[in-house]
Amino acid sequence: MTDIAQGAPAAAPKGNAASAAPAAARQGPLDLTLSFVDGAAVRGTAGAAADPDWLLADRLEGLRAFEALPIETNQLYTTYIDLRNAHLAAARPYAGPAAVSPGAGAAKLLPEGAAAYAEIRENQIAALVLSAEARDAGLILETLAQTQTRDPELLRKLVEGGCALPENDKLAQMTRALWSGGLLIHVPDGVRLERPIVLRWSVGAPDTALLTRTIISLGEDAEVSVVEEQVSADASAPISTDAQAFFAGTTEAVIGAGSTLSFAGLQDFSLRQIAFQHRSTVLARGATVRWALAQLGCRVVRSRIDNRLEGDGSTVEQAEIVFGSADQLFDLTSYTRQVGRDTTGNLLSKAVLADRSRAYMKGLATIEHSAHGTDSFLGEFAMLLSKQARSVAIPSLEIDQPDCRRVAHASSVGPIDETQLFYLESRGLDPDEARKAIVLGYLEPVVARVPLESAQDRLRELLEAKWDARTVARPAAAAVA
């Protein structure tokens, strides 16, 4: 069974035996086994980073909220959370912010076609490089530690007055309390970058915990696209180890009037990874955010997206795909709050679930009273490839303003369409090829939204690889648990 993996690994420090032991006995769906979140850890993190007083206060505020909040505050979702496979009692955060490697700024590290590149390997900044063109245009890509040195007031403004992590979210508040590194992307007014910024996280050493924030600030009439790749650092780590790794990351974007952020996130961590993701945006008048998110990896991933359409005429386009296998759990929540007039929300989730994988797709679109002329669509779709797979869709609407263009949601669940399968087989594809073509075709509309062509191709490769691995691993699936 899955729960035995908790059996205290040798690395577990003695001081935490008390918290590890009961978890080993029986871990409930709501049990967060992390054992390092306390005041001392917060002060230690702040000390290591030489935080100013206001930042320490902000962290302590986050800790207070963390301690006060239940794991899920939204009553709509309390029965759909399951952390039983997250065995994190032994995970330890890195001390202090990531150090920048010598040579991280070397121009040769910049991938072809990218405006800027940052690569984070565990707690090390392996690359941090901007194209000359992007630098000249005024783009800033730096670590938050660098921001603190360069422009402490800017950091304070972004952390205290930015789009803010959700106040009612225990896990987001934990990241607020204990983040130890992060990145800033700033695009000044009027700057429109054609080429994307690429961020690459490669983490996952056993028993580590990395808590990090990515802050994005777009001035007015600016435009940028970001491709974020999250992969497993440590492909060589013995698969036999039970020790998991923990990642908590944010994307906090303030998008100025008339600006556009395209963000493609590609999560392909190892099956020993537990990840909590928080992505929040605040949109000013006429601003647009486009999310294209692919969730492939992790044993358990819990993701939350908050879109706040404050400005009149602002738009969110959100597309998310999931491809699950083994006993992966994808716990995905998205909140879209439409506040301004004539805002548009177009949110689409598509899951393909093999083996014993599960997806919880929880979407809530709230149309506030001030939001006249809203257009809002929320779609949650799933394709189940195995008897043991499970899909939960909760596409909810809260509408306080009748004067809307369209408010709708839709959802469907089903197996691979037999007619399509028959058609492809009649064209000479063998059944597995035909199934693969249908599954990849089902996900393709989201793949096509990834802004960088090379990232698109990479995502296609990953999806194909995942399909093939699933097919091959199928008879031995039990071995994964």
Partner: protein, 466 residues
């Protein structure tokens, strides 16, 4: 005329027209003694007393629900949980609010019936109709009587099915109902019998009075078929703060049950109802459910598809006006292969009213070949009205075909303009559009109900009901 003298009037209307002579009423508030007293007044068997006490204990231990509507205004300690029907306070026609009187008038409710509905008059002549219907039914073996009477006359059948669909532990208000239930209908349709006419609880209840904590148990044996209708379009005037009913339906293999509700409680009632059906193999269960009245309704008719090939259908309509919250929906739980369900929900919010659709669709592992659909449409007629949709779709079987769609919008100005250009007033045009929106529901009603329901909606739309 068989006007029974002991049913005169009453603020509370628990009576059933049988010969049991209730002597007292309980004190306000709910204690263990209250529950014991109710059982004693009714001269119930020990097992029912034990059941009530078990429910009472659970009721005490269960917290108030924190979701859905605002339940904080209910003062459970002020309710008299049982009172002999004839001991209600006398009330006069003059005390009935104008709004209700006006509605009766507009709906064309006969004078005598108006007084009954308002709780100030004696029953009217429907008892005659009811008795002749009952005679017809008993010829074909159909049982249709008050639930208390059912417990006495059919003790074994009753005990076999009672609380098997909604156990007292289901929710706080099911526990409350189980502890203090009184009244409701008991229906048994024997194997292979098709009941030709709808069973109208309206007639039965006219004869015997309705209740605050009514409990209905419907058992439809193999291959049998029945349509049960409760409620009526006229507003039921009551000063009761709370109506907490439980309805259990058991559809045995190859049977067919349709349960139609048109409930129009007056706008100060909290209507918290648990309705659930078990659909066995190749049976069909349909809930046709309209909610126009009450201050707050929380009601989610459910069907557990337990046998292979069973079919479920829920068509529900909610209309929320000023100060009203209709928190309604439906649940289909697929527990067996090749089961089908269809849920259609239509809601209208106006004058600051609030509607909520809350539904669940679940397919468990092993329930292969399920086909399910959920459709929710909401109309918001004006500023300040609100509509929420919370569907839960939990699919644990790959061989499932499920679709869900929901839309929320305002009345199409194009449609209204078109109709006005054909000579209708704006009111008439709006009305017609609303009636079209609700047609999927009204076409399922027997004709006389459909006509009354359309009339009621029209009155609601005109705002002539205040």
């Amino acid at each position: 005329m068989a006007t029974s003298p002991e049913i005169v009037s009453g603020e509370y209307k628990y009576g059933f027209h049988d010969d049991v002579d209730y002597l007292e009423e309980t004190k306000a508030g709910l204690t263990r003694e209250t529950v014991e007293a109710i059982s004693r007044f009714k001269d119930e068997p020990q097992w029912m007393l034990d059941f009530r006490l078990r429910a009472y204990e659970h009721y005490l231990s269960r917290p108030m629900p924190q979701w859905g509507g605002d339940l904080m205004q209910i003062d459970l300690s002020k309710i008299v949980y049982y009172r002999k029907p004839s001991q209600g306070e006398e009330k006069s026609w003059d005390d009935v609010p104008d709004k209700i009187k006006k509605t009766f008038e507009r709906l064309g409710i006969p004078e005598a019936e108006r007084k009954f509905l308002a709780g100030v008059g004696a029953q009217y002549d429907s008892e005659v109709v009811y008795h002749s219907v009952r005679e017809e039914l008993s010829k074909i073996g159909v049982v249709f009587m008050g639930t208390d009477q059912g417990l006495k006359e059919y003790p074994e059948l009753f005990r076999k099915y009672f609380a098997t669909v909604v156990p007292p532990e289901d929710n706080k208000f099911a526990a409350l109902n189980s502890a203090v239930w009184s009244g409701g209908s008991f229906v048994y349709v024997p194997k292979g019998v098709e009941v030709p006419l709808p069973l109208q609880a309206y007639f039965r209840i006219n004869a015997e009075n309705t209740g605050q904590f009514e409990r209905t148990l419907i058992i439809v044996d193999e291959g049998a078929k029945v349509h049960y209708i409760e409620g009526c379009t006229a507003p039921i005037y009551t000063t009761d703060a709370l109506h907490a009913a439980v309805v259990e339906v058991i559809a045995l293999p190859h049977s067919k049950v349709r349960y139609t509700t048109i409930q129009n409680w007056s706008n100060d009632v909290y209507n918290l109802v648990t309705k659930r059906a078990h659909a066995h193999a190749y049976s069909t269960v349909e809930w046709i459910d309209a909610n126009t009245g009450s201050k707050l309704t929380m009601k989610y008719p459910s069907i557990y598809l337990r046998g292979e090939g069973a079919t479920a259908e829920v068509i529900s309509v909610a209309v929320a006006g000023k100060g009203q919250h209709q928190d309604t929906g439906a649940k289909a739980i697929h527990l067996a292969p090749n089961t089908r369900s269809r849920i259609i929900s239509k809601s209208i919010s106006k004058d600051g009213g609030r509607t909520t659709y809350r539904g669940q669709l679940k397919v468990v592992p092993g329930a292969t070949g399920v086909v399910a659909s959920v459709r929710c449409d909401a109309l918001l007629l004006d500023e300040g009205s609100r509509s929420d949709t919370y569907p839960y779709i939990d699919i644990q079987e790959d061989d499932t075909t499920m679709t869900h769609e929901a839309t929320v919008g305002k009345i199409s100005q194009d449609q209204v303009f078109y109709l006005m250009s054909r000579g209708l007033t704006e009111n008439e045009a709006t009305n017609l559009v609303v009636q079209g929106f609700l047609e999927v529901f009204t076409k399922e009603l027997p004709m006389e109900y459909a006509i009354e329901f359309n009339r009621l909606v029209k009155l609601e739309m005109e705002g002539s009901l205040g």
